[in-house]
Protein backbone atom coordinates (compact mmCIF):
# COMPACT_ATOMS: atom_id res chain seq x y z
CA UNK A 1 0.00 0.00 0.00
CA UNK A 2 1.51 3.31 -1.00
CA UNK A 3 2.09 5.39 2.07
CA UNK A 4 1.91 8.77 0.45
CA UNK A 5 -0.41 11.71 0.19
CA UNK A 6 -0.90 14.53 -2.23
CA UNK A 7 -0.95 18.13 -1.08
CA UNK A 8 -2.60 21.01 -2.88
CA UNK A 9 -2.05 24.70 -2.39
CA UNK A 10 -4.89 27.17 -1.91
CA UNK A 11 -4.93 30.92 -1.63
CA UNK A 12 -7.22 32.27 1.06
CA UNK A 13 -9.18 35.35 0.04
CA UNK A 14 -11.52 37.27 2.26
CA UNK A 15 -13.39 40.51 2.53
CA UNK A 16 -14.28 39.74 6.15
CA UNK A 17 -12.74 41.82 8.90
CA UNK A 18 -11.87 38.69 10.88
CA UNK A 19 -8.65 37.22 9.53
CA UNK A 20 -8.66 33.52 8.71
CA UNK A 21 -6.52 32.68 11.76
CA UNK A 22 -9.00 34.58 13.92
CA UNK A 23 -11.77 32.30 12.74
CA UNK A 24 -9.58 29.25 13.35
CA UNK A 25 -8.79 30.39 16.87
CA UNK A 26 -12.46 31.01 17.60
CA UNK A 27 -13.47 27.61 16.25
CA UNK A 28 -10.80 25.78 18.24
CA UNK A 29 -11.92 27.62 21.37
CA UNK A 30 -15.34 25.99 20.94
CA UNK A 31 -15.66 22.66 22.82
CA UNK A 32 -15.18 19.65 20.54
CA UNK A 33 -18.73 18.38 20.96
CA UNK A 34 -20.12 21.67 19.65
CA UNK A 35 -17.78 22.00 16.72
CA UNK A 36 -19.69 19.85 14.29
CA UNK A 37 -21.43 21.51 11.36
CA UNK A 38 -23.36 20.09 8.45
CA UNK A 39 -21.88 20.97 5.09
CA UNK A 40 -23.92 19.56 2.25
CA UNK A 41 -24.66 15.96 3.13
CA UNK A 42 -21.69 15.62 5.48
CA UNK A 43 -20.93 16.49 9.04
CA UNK A 44 -17.60 18.18 9.37
CA UNK A 45 -15.54 19.11 12.38
CA UNK A 46 -12.26 20.80 13.08
CA UNK A 47 -10.76 17.86 14.90
CA UNK A 48 -7.56 19.36 16.08
CA UNK A 49 -5.89 22.72 15.81
CA UNK A 50 -2.41 23.67 16.94
CA UNK A 51 -1.72 27.38 17.25
CA UNK A 52 1.68 28.45 15.96
CA UNK A 53 4.65 29.04 18.26
CA UNK A 54 3.37 26.95 21.10
CA UNK A 55 5.15 24.05 22.84
CA UNK A 56 3.09 21.58 20.81
CA UNK A 57 3.73 23.37 17.52
CA UNK A 58 7.04 25.15 17.20
CA UNK A 59 6.43 26.19 13.59
CA UNK A 60 4.89 29.51 12.63
CA UNK A 61 1.98 27.81 10.87
CA UNK A 62 -1.42 26.70 12.01
CA UNK A 63 -1.72 22.91 11.96
CA UNK A 64 -5.26 21.75 11.39
CA UNK A 65 -7.08 18.48 11.08
CA UNK A 66 -10.60 18.27 9.74
CA UNK A 67 -12.85 15.22 9.91
CA UNK A 68 -15.76 14.07 7.91
CA UNK A 69 -18.08 12.15 10.26
CA UNK A 70 -20.33 9.46 8.97
CA UNK A 71 -23.00 7.62 10.90
CA UNK A 72 -24.41 5.65 8.00
CA UNK A 73 -23.03 2.45 6.57
CA UNK A 74 -19.29 1.89 6.67
CA UNK A 75 -16.51 -0.62 6.10
CA UNK A 76 -15.91 -3.84 8.02
CA UNK A 77 -12.91 -5.47 9.57
CA UNK A 78 -11.20 -7.79 7.10
CA UNK A 79 -8.68 -10.55 7.54
CA UNK A 80 -7.07 -12.75 4.90
CA UNK A 81 -7.74 -15.98 6.75
CA UNK A 82 -10.84 -15.11 8.75
CA UNK A 83 -14.32 -14.06 7.72
CA UNK A 84 -15.23 -10.40 7.57
CA UNK A 85 -16.51 -8.95 10.81
CA UNK A 86 -17.80 -5.56 11.80
CA UNK A 87 -16.10 -3.11 14.08
CA UNK A 88 -17.55 -3.10 17.53
CA UNK A 89 -19.18 0.29 17.63
CA UNK A 90 -20.97 1.98 20.49
CA UNK A 91 -24.44 3.44 19.94
CA UNK A 92 -23.07 6.91 19.14
CA UNK A 93 -20.06 5.79 17.14
CA UNK A 94 -19.59 6.18 13.41
CA UNK A 95 -16.81 6.45 10.90
CA UNK A 96 -14.59 9.40 10.17
CA UNK A 97 -12.15 10.45 7.50
CA UNK A 98 -9.41 12.92 8.16
CA UNK A 99 -7.89 15.74 6.13
CA UNK A 100 -4.93 17.60 7.47
CA UNK A 101 -4.30 21.22 6.59
CA UNK A 102 -1.68 23.84 7.26
CA UNK A 103 -2.33 27.57 7.27
CA UNK A 104 0.44 30.03 6.70
CA UNK A 105 -0.82 33.39 8.05
CA UNK A 106 2.02 35.41 6.56
CA UNK A 107 1.40 34.23 2.99
CA UNK A 108 -2.33 33.61 3.45
CA UNK A 109 -2.13 30.17 1.92
CA UNK A 110 -3.72 26.94 3.04
CA UNK A 111 -2.10 23.62 2.25
CA UNK A 112 -4.60 20.80 2.20
CA UNK A 113 -3.94 17.10 2.18
CA UNK A 114 -5.83 15.39 -0.60
CA UNK A 115 -8.04 12.74 0.92
CA UNK A 116 -10.71 11.53 -1.43
CA UNK A 117 -13.11 10.65 1.38
CA UNK A 118 -12.16 13.34 3.84
CA UNK A 119 -13.39 16.94 3.82
CA UNK A 120 -12.37 18.69 0.61
CA UNK A 121 -11.24 22.27 0.26
CA UNK A 122 -14.68 23.56 -0.66
CA UNK A 123 -16.26 21.85 2.34
CA UNK A 124 -13.56 23.13 4.67
CA UNK A 125 -14.09 26.61 3.32
CA UNK A 126 -17.83 26.59 3.86
CA UNK A 127 -17.36 24.97 7.27
CA UNK A 128 -15.21 27.85 8.45
CA UNK A 129 -17.26 30.51 6.67
CA UNK A 130 -20.57 29.41 8.15
CA UNK A 131 -19.35 28.11 11.51
CA UNK A 132 -20.86 30.90 13.59
CA UNK A 133 -24.61 30.99 13.16
CA UNK A 134 -25.76 34.37 11.95
CA UNK A 135 -22.24 35.52 11.09
CA UNK A 136 -21.24 34.85 7.52
CA UNK A 137 -17.49 35.05 7.31
CA UNK A 138 -16.71 35.42 3.68
CA UNK A 139 -13.69 33.22 3.00
CA UNK A 140 -12.79 31.89 -0.36
CA UNK A 141 -10.23 29.27 -1.26
CA UNK A 142 -8.82 29.26 -4.75
CA UNK A 143 -6.51 26.53 -5.85
CA UNK A 144 -3.12 27.74 -6.98
CA UNK A 145 -2.49 26.77 -10.58
CA UNK A 146 0.84 26.01 -12.05
CA UNK A 147 1.99 28.62 -14.55
CA UNK A 148 4.62 26.21 -15.79
CA UNK A 149 2.33 23.68 -17.46
CA UNK A 150 3.70 24.71 -20.83
CA UNK A 151 7.25 24.08 -19.62
CA UNK A 152 6.20 20.69 -18.38
CA UNK A 153 4.77 19.92 -21.78
CA UNK A 154 8.05 20.85 -23.41
CA UNK A 155 9.79 18.23 -21.30
CA UNK A 156 7.71 15.38 -22.70
CA UNK A 157 9.63 13.75 -25.48
CA UNK A 158 6.92 11.16 -26.08
CA UNK A 159 3.29 12.13 -26.36
CA UNK A 160 0.68 9.43 -25.97
CA UNK A 161 -2.68 11.07 -25.69
CA UNK A 162 -4.38 14.40 -26.24
CA UNK A 163 -7.77 14.97 -24.76
CA UNK A 164 -9.68 18.13 -25.53
CA UNK A 165 -13.16 19.38 -24.87
CA UNK A 166 -14.28 22.39 -26.80
CA UNK A 167 -17.40 24.46 -26.54
CA UNK A 168 -18.25 25.77 -29.98
CA UNK A 169 -17.74 29.48 -29.82
CA UNK A 170 -20.83 31.47 -29.06
CA UNK A 171 -21.12 35.09 -30.01
CA UNK A 172 -19.29 36.86 -27.24
CA UNK A 173 -17.70 40.15 -26.41
CA UNK A 174 -14.27 38.55 -26.63
CA UNK A 175 -15.03 37.77 -30.27
CA UNK A 176 -15.93 41.38 -30.83
CA UNK A 177 -12.83 42.59 -29.07
CA UNK A 178 -10.64 40.31 -31.14
CA UNK A 179 -12.16 41.89 -34.24
CA UNK A 180 -14.35 39.12 -35.60
CA UNK A 181 -16.94 40.65 -37.89
CA UNK A 182 -20.60 40.24 -37.05
CA UNK A 183 -21.01 38.34 -40.30
CA UNK A 184 -18.41 35.75 -39.26
CA UNK A 185 -19.64 35.60 -35.70
CA UNK A 186 -23.09 34.68 -36.95
CA UNK A 187 -21.72 32.06 -39.34
CA UNK A 188 -19.54 30.38 -36.70
CA UNK A 189 -22.23 30.02 -34.11
CA UNK A 190 -24.68 28.82 -36.72
CA UNK A 191 -22.70 25.81 -37.85
CA UNK A 192 -24.02 22.88 -35.77
CA UNK A 193 -26.42 22.57 -32.94
CA UNK A 194 -23.99 20.70 -30.66
CA UNK A 195 -22.93 22.10 -27.35
CA UNK A 196 -19.57 20.45 -26.81
CA UNK A 197 -16.99 18.77 -28.95
CA UNK A 198 -14.71 16.23 -27.33
CA UNK A 199 -11.64 15.02 -29.09
CA UNK A 200 -9.34 12.29 -27.87
CA UNK A 201 -6.33 11.33 -29.86
CA UNK A 202 -4.42 8.47 -28.35
CA UNK A 203 -1.64 6.17 -29.40
CA UNK A 204 -2.30 2.44 -29.46
CA UNK A 205 -2.05 0.40 -26.30
CA UNK A 206 1.38 -1.05 -26.83
CA UNK A 207 4.04 0.43 -24.59
CA UNK A 208 6.27 1.80 -27.31
CA UNK A 209 3.57 3.48 -29.35
CA UNK A 210 3.41 7.25 -29.49
CA UNK A 211 1.85 10.10 -31.37
CA UNK A 212 3.66 11.88 -34.14
CA UNK A 213 5.49 14.53 -32.16
CA UNK A 214 5.33 17.32 -34.72
CA UNK A 215 1.67 16.83 -35.60
CA UNK A 216 0.62 16.44 -31.97
CA UNK A 217 2.26 19.73 -31.09
CA UNK A 218 0.61 21.40 -34.05
CA UNK A 219 -2.74 20.14 -32.84
CA UNK A 220 -2.08 21.35 -29.30
CA UNK A 221 -1.12 24.81 -30.46
CA UNK A 222 -4.18 24.98 -32.68
CA UNK A 223 -6.36 24.25 -29.67
CA UNK A 224 -4.41 26.75 -27.60
CA UNK A 225 -5.18 29.39 -30.18
CA UNK A 226 -8.85 28.67 -29.66
CA UNK A 227 -8.32 29.36 -25.97
CA UNK A 228 -7.76 33.02 -26.72
CA UNK A 229 -11.44 33.02 -27.65
CA UNK A 230 -12.53 33.23 -24.04
CA UNK A 231 -13.80 30.00 -22.58
CA UNK A 232 -14.00 28.04 -25.80
CA UNK A 233 -11.70 25.25 -24.56
CA UNK A 234 -12.93 23.53 -21.43
CA UNK A 235 -10.35 20.80 -21.19
CA UNK A 236 -6.97 20.20 -22.73
CA UNK A 237 -4.98 17.38 -21.26
CA UNK A 238 -1.87 15.82 -22.65
CA UNK A 239 -0.35 12.52 -21.60
CA UNK A 240 3.28 11.92 -22.23
CA UNK A 241 6.56 10.57 -20.96
CA UNK A 242 9.67 12.67 -20.45
CA UNK A 243 11.76 9.74 -21.66
CA UNK A 244 11.11 6.18 -22.84
CA UNK A 245 10.22 4.00 -19.89
CA UNK A 246 9.45 6.89 -17.56
CA UNK A 247 6.02 6.87 -15.94
CA UNK A 248 3.22 8.58 -17.84
CA UNK A 249 2.60 12.17 -16.81
CA UNK A 250 -0.71 13.91 -17.38
CA UNK A 251 -0.52 17.62 -17.99
CA UNK A 252 -3.65 19.68 -17.71
CA UNK A 253 -2.93 22.70 -19.84
CA UNK A 254 -5.97 24.53 -18.53
CA UNK A 255 -5.86 23.83 -14.85
CA UNK A 256 -2.54 22.37 -13.92
CA UNK A 257 -2.73 22.58 -10.18
CA UNK A 258 0.28 22.88 -7.98
CA UNK A 259 0.67 19.57 -6.27
CA UNK A 260 3.28 17.71 -4.36
CA UNK A 261 3.38 14.16 -3.10
CA UNK A 262 4.62 13.37 0.36
CA UNK A 263 6.03 9.87 0.69
CA UNK A 264 6.60 7.56 3.64
CA UNK A 265 3.83 8.57 5.95
CA UNK A 266 3.69 6.66 9.21
CA UNK A 267 0.85 4.25 9.49
CA UNK A 268 -0.51 3.73 13.00
CA UNK A 269 -1.41 0.30 14.40
CA UNK A 270 -5.06 1.16 13.68
CA UNK A 271 -4.12 1.58 9.99
CA UNK A 272 -4.64 5.33 10.03
CA UNK A 273 -1.88 7.67 9.02
CA UNK A 274 -0.94 9.27 12.27
CA UNK A 275 -1.77 12.94 12.62
CA UNK A 276 1.74 14.14 13.38
CA UNK A 277 3.06 12.36 10.33
CA UNK A 278 0.53 14.06 8.05
CA UNK A 279 1.36 17.41 9.62
CA UNK A 280 5.05 16.77 9.11
CA UNK A 281 4.25 16.10 5.46
CA UNK A 282 2.44 19.41 5.16
CA UNK A 283 5.35 21.22 6.79
CA UNK A 284 7.68 19.58 4.28
CA UNK A 285 5.43 20.68 1.45
CA UNK A 286 5.31 24.24 2.82
CA UNK A 287 9.08 24.38 2.99
CA UNK A 288 9.38 22.91 -0.48
CA UNK A 289 7.13 25.62 -1.88
CA UNK A 290 9.03 28.38 -0.12
CA UNK A 291 10.23 29.75 -3.44
CA UNK A 292 6.84 30.05 -5.13
CA UNK A 293 4.89 31.55 -2.25
Amino acid sequence: MPSNMKVHLYDVHTQATTPFEGALAAISATPLDQRMRSVGANEIRLENCLTPNTPANASSYWLLDFTNLRFKNGPGKANRVAPMTGFSLGPDDGFGEETAALYDPSKKVLLIQYNHHGPRASAICSYISSFFPGVMLDYELSIRLNPNAALKLQRQSILRKIDAKITPPKISSSMRKSGTSLDNALSISNSIGGNTIEITISASRSKSSKLDFQKAHEFISAIKELMSNGDAVERLEVEGRPSPGAPIETIDLIEERIETTIYNLTLGSDLRYIQSSRWEGLLKARNGWGAIL
Binding site: R176, L182, A185, N190
Partner: protein
Protein backbone atom coordinates in the same frame (compact mmCIF):
# COMPACT_ATOMS: atom_id res chain seq x y z
CA UNK B 1 -13.55 39.08 -42.39
CA UNK B 2 -12.40 41.44 -39.72
CA UNK B 3 -14.75 43.67 -37.82
CA UNK B 4 -12.82 46.74 -38.94
CA UNK B 5 -13.22 45.77 -42.60
CA UNK B 6 -16.89 45.05 -42.09
CA UNK B 7 -17.34 48.47 -40.51
CA UNK B 8 -15.67 50.51 -43.21
CA UNK B 9 -15.86 48.69 -46.51
CA UNK B 10 -18.92 50.62 -47.76
CA UNK B 11 -17.15 53.95 -47.23
CA UNK B 12 -13.95 52.63 -48.76
CA UNK B 13 -15.66 51.19 -51.83
CA UNK B 14 -17.70 54.37 -52.27
CA UNK B 15 -14.58 56.51 -52.03
CA UNK B 16 -12.81 54.31 -54.55
CA UNK B 17 -15.76 54.65 -56.95
CA UNK B 18 -15.81 58.44 -56.46
CA UNK B 19 -12.08 58.59 -57.16
CA UNK B 20 -12.52 56.47 -60.29
CA UNK B 21 -15.28 58.79 -61.54
CA UNK B 22 -13.07 61.81 -60.91
CA UNK B 23 -10.17 60.16 -62.70
CA UNK B 24 -12.00 58.86 -65.75
CA UNK B 25 -15.06 61.20 -65.74
CA UNK B 26 -17.56 59.04 -67.57
CA UNK B 27 -20.86 60.78 -68.35
CA UNK B 28 -24.37 60.12 -67.12
CA UNK B 29 -26.83 58.54 -69.57
CA UNK B 30 -28.25 61.08 -71.97
CA UNK B 31 -31.68 61.61 -70.50
CA UNK B 32 -30.55 62.68 -67.06
CA UNK B 33 -34.04 63.41 -65.75
CA UNK B 34 -35.30 59.90 -66.24
CA UNK B 35 -32.06 58.47 -64.97
CA UNK B 36 -32.34 60.48 -61.76
CA UNK B 37 -35.97 59.42 -61.40
CA UNK B 38 -34.98 55.76 -61.63
CA UNK B 39 -32.20 56.25 -59.10
CA UNK B 40 -34.59 57.94 -56.68
CA UNK B 41 -36.92 54.95 -56.93
CA UNK B 42 -34.10 52.52 -56.15
CA UNK B 43 -33.06 54.63 -53.18
CA UNK B 44 -36.57 54.77 -51.77
CA UNK B 45 -37.12 51.04 -52.20
CA UNK B 46 -33.94 50.39 -50.22
CA UNK B 47 -34.99 52.88 -47.56
CA UNK B 48 -38.34 51.16 -47.26
CA UNK B 49 -36.71 47.76 -46.93
CA UNK B 50 -34.31 48.90 -44.21
CA UNK B 51 -37.09 50.57 -42.27
CA UNK B 52 -39.09 47.33 -42.41
CA UNK B 53 -36.03 45.31 -41.41
CA UNK B 54 -35.62 47.52 -38.37
CA UNK B 55 -39.19 46.82 -37.37
CA UNK B 56 -38.69 43.06 -37.84
CA UNK B 57 -35.51 43.12 -35.79
CA UNK B 58 -37.19 45.01 -32.98
CA UNK B 59 -40.00 42.45 -32.99
CA UNK B 60 -37.71 39.36 -32.98
CA UNK B 61 -38.16 37.28 -29.84
CA UNK B 62 -35.63 37.97 -27.15
CA UNK B 63 -34.18 34.49 -27.58
CA UNK B 64 -30.67 33.29 -27.10
CA UNK B 65 -29.30 34.83 -30.27
CA UNK B 66 -30.60 38.33 -29.64
CA UNK B 67 -29.56 37.98 -26.03
CA UNK B 68 -26.05 37.07 -27.09
CA UNK B 69 -25.89 39.87 -29.63
CA UNK B 70 -26.84 42.24 -26.85
CA UNK B 71 -24.41 40.82 -24.31
CA UNK B 72 -21.49 40.69 -26.69
CA UNK B 73 -21.99 44.26 -27.85
CA UNK B 74 -22.49 43.24 -31.47
CA UNK B 75 -25.91 44.82 -31.29
CA UNK B 76 -24.18 48.22 -31.43
CA UNK B 77 -22.53 47.27 -34.68
CA UNK B 78 -25.77 45.94 -36.09
CA UNK B 79 -27.58 49.13 -35.11
CA UNK B 80 -24.85 51.24 -36.67
CA UNK B 81 -25.02 49.20 -39.92
CA UNK B 82 -28.76 49.66 -40.03
CA UNK B 83 -28.45 53.38 -39.40
CA UNK B 84 -25.83 53.77 -42.11
CA UNK B 85 -27.93 51.83 -44.60
CA UNK B 86 -31.09 53.73 -43.74
CA UNK B 87 -29.59 57.21 -43.94
CA UNK B 88 -27.35 56.26 -46.85
CA UNK B 89 -30.31 55.16 -48.95
CA UNK B 90 -32.41 58.09 -47.80
CA UNK B 91 -29.76 60.64 -48.67
CA UNK B 92 -29.23 58.92 -52.02
CA UNK B 93 -32.89 59.60 -52.84
CA UNK B 94 -32.76 63.15 -51.54
CA UNK B 95 -29.56 63.80 -53.50
CA UNK B 96 -31.31 62.57 -56.62
CA UNK B 97 -34.20 64.95 -56.01
CA UNK B 98 -31.81 67.84 -55.45
CA UNK B 99 -30.32 66.88 -58.81
CA UNK B 100 -33.50 68.04 -60.57
CA UNK B 101 -32.93 71.58 -59.22
CA UNK B 102 -29.28 71.61 -60.28
CA UNK B 103 -30.37 70.39 -63.68
CA UNK B 104 -32.59 73.49 -64.08
CA UNK B 105 -29.67 75.75 -63.21
CA UNK B 106 -26.91 74.18 -65.24
CA UNK B 107 -28.74 72.67 -68.12
CA UNK B 108 -28.13 70.63 -70.17
CA UNK B 109 -25.80 68.54 -67.92
CA UNK B 110 -25.28 68.10 -64.16
CA UNK B 111 -21.54 68.36 -64.24
CA UNK B 112 -18.69 66.31 -62.89
CA UNK B 113 -18.86 67.18 -59.19
CA UNK B 114 -22.52 66.33 -58.85
CA UNK B 115 -21.77 63.00 -60.52
CA UNK B 116 -18.92 62.24 -58.12
CA UNK B 117 -21.20 62.83 -55.13
CA UNK B 118 -23.87 60.72 -56.79
CA UNK B 119 -21.63 57.71 -57.40
CA UNK B 120 -20.28 57.94 -53.84
CA UNK B 121 -23.77 57.81 -52.36
CA UNK B 122 -24.90 55.15 -54.83
CA UNK B 123 -22.08 52.74 -54.00
CA UNK B 124 -22.26 53.51 -50.30
CA UNK B 125 -25.97 52.84 -50.01
CA UNK B 126 -25.74 49.74 -52.19
CA UNK B 127 -22.96 48.15 -50.12
CA UNK B 128 -24.44 49.26 -46.80
CA UNK B 129 -27.72 47.74 -47.91
CA UNK B 130 -26.02 44.53 -48.94
CA UNK B 131 -24.22 44.29 -45.60
CA UNK B 132 -27.41 44.64 -43.59
CA UNK B 133 -29.42 42.38 -45.87
CA UNK B 134 -26.95 39.50 -45.65
CA UNK B 135 -26.67 39.85 -41.87
CA UNK B 136 -30.43 39.88 -41.47
CA UNK B 137 -30.76 36.71 -43.52
CA UNK B 138 -28.18 35.05 -41.26
CA UNK B 139 -30.00 36.20 -38.15
CA UNK B 140 -33.32 34.96 -39.42
CA UNK B 141 -31.95 31.56 -40.44
CA UNK B 142 -29.91 31.22 -37.25
CA UNK B 143 -30.47 28.03 -35.36
CA UNK B 144 -32.13 26.22 -38.26
CA UNK B 145 -30.98 22.65 -38.58
Amino acid sequence: MKLLVEKYYPVLLASAAAYAWWRFSPSFPRDEKEFLGAAISVGSIFTGFIATAKAILAALPNDSLMERLRESGYIKDLASYLTQALYGCLSFSVYGMAGFFFLEQQSPSLGKFYAIGWIFLAIFSLTAFHRVASLLIKIISHGSR
